[in-house]
Symmetry: C2
Subunit: 185 residues, 2 copies
């Protein structure tokens, strides 16, 4: 951020009076521009013990497999966001059960929320997917998953499935986990 989105003046990055962290400040109009984490909402769509995955047609991680998920939009709920992303990326409808993984990525200011869901009806690749397919546990392409959040969600699921109990898993993924996927660049 270089310019005030309210008045167009230059902004500076400094701690406002009464605050304890730096913000983008406009000395012309007085605006303080807060920046906050974004929610990535998605689903773990299941049918007959198999999981729906999408092969990404867009960067980042084009060609790698992911659960349907994306940035939550204004004016929708988390459940609506998760269902919409599933519709957009996999042309699929889901019946959503519980929130299953809540994963913080503080180094990139994201919070993943993946809901366990039953896949309903047909599916097909949406514009952001090269391919959409169902995978049994033995066939999951572990080395070709797009993001560590996806790997972690799948590992929780296959572990929990043995007991048939699916509690919410809260966790965080740091730079180390991320570098396994993306390198240190």
């Amino acid at each position: 951020m270089k310019f005030c989105s309210n008045c167009g003046h230059n902004v500076r990055f400094a701690i406002p009076e009464g605050d304890d962290r730096s913000r983008y400040l406009c000395d012309a109009c007085g605006a303080i521009h807060y920046q906050n984490p974004r929610i990535v909402a998605g689903t773990l769509p299941i049918r007959d013990g198999r999981i729906l995955l999408c092969r990404r047609a867009i960067s980042p991680r084009m060609g790698y497999w992911t659960l349907p998920a994306g940035f939550m939009e204004n004016a929708e709920t988390t459940l609506e966001a998760a269902a919409r992303e599933t519709r957009e990326e996999a042309c699929a409808e889901v019946e959503i059960h519980d929130l299953y993984t809540l994963i913080d990525l503080p180094h990139i200011n994201q919070v993943y929320m993946i809901f366990r869901a039953d896949l309903i009806g047909d599916f097909a690749a949406g514009p952001e997917s090269q391919e959409v397919a169902m995978f049994a546990e033995a066939d999951i392409p572990w080395d070709e998953l797009a993001f560590p959040t996806i790997e972690r969600t799948l590992r929780h699921y296959f572990h929990d499935r043995r007991d048939g109990v699916f509690p919410l898993h809260i966790g965080a993924i740091g730079l180390q986990d991320r570098e396994r996927y993306f390198g240190s660049a």
Copy 2:
């Protein structure tokens, strides 16, 4: 948003090519300025069956009672945000258990995440609180609560406490619930 925060040019509000909703667009530098919901993280601090509430010293809803909660910041986790807000507003430390309520407010682009927690040690009013106090169920100031998210979280808790089971409650609060608190202005 009137000006591009990247280059200072005027923005327009229109649907970008390949998208399906309006964004703030800069024709000069090509930036697309996405806007997304913000997370409000907080705790339900409990000790000896009583709940810690804070009387707000700032607007909105100054003078009304709330659970300690506030906007999650970049570079922190949801658990860190909930604990930090509790420390700032009630000068209190907590041992956080589970995520207890996840409440969407799509009309104001917020997602509340309140964690059930044990209150540890002392407490006192932080700079954003007029007063901090512990309340038994019979003493909760139901007519002086700051936000419908707080009322709903407390009602879930006192209901669940009878059975000793505290599942995650996912819900949404719309304009109607909000108008009970704020009027239709």
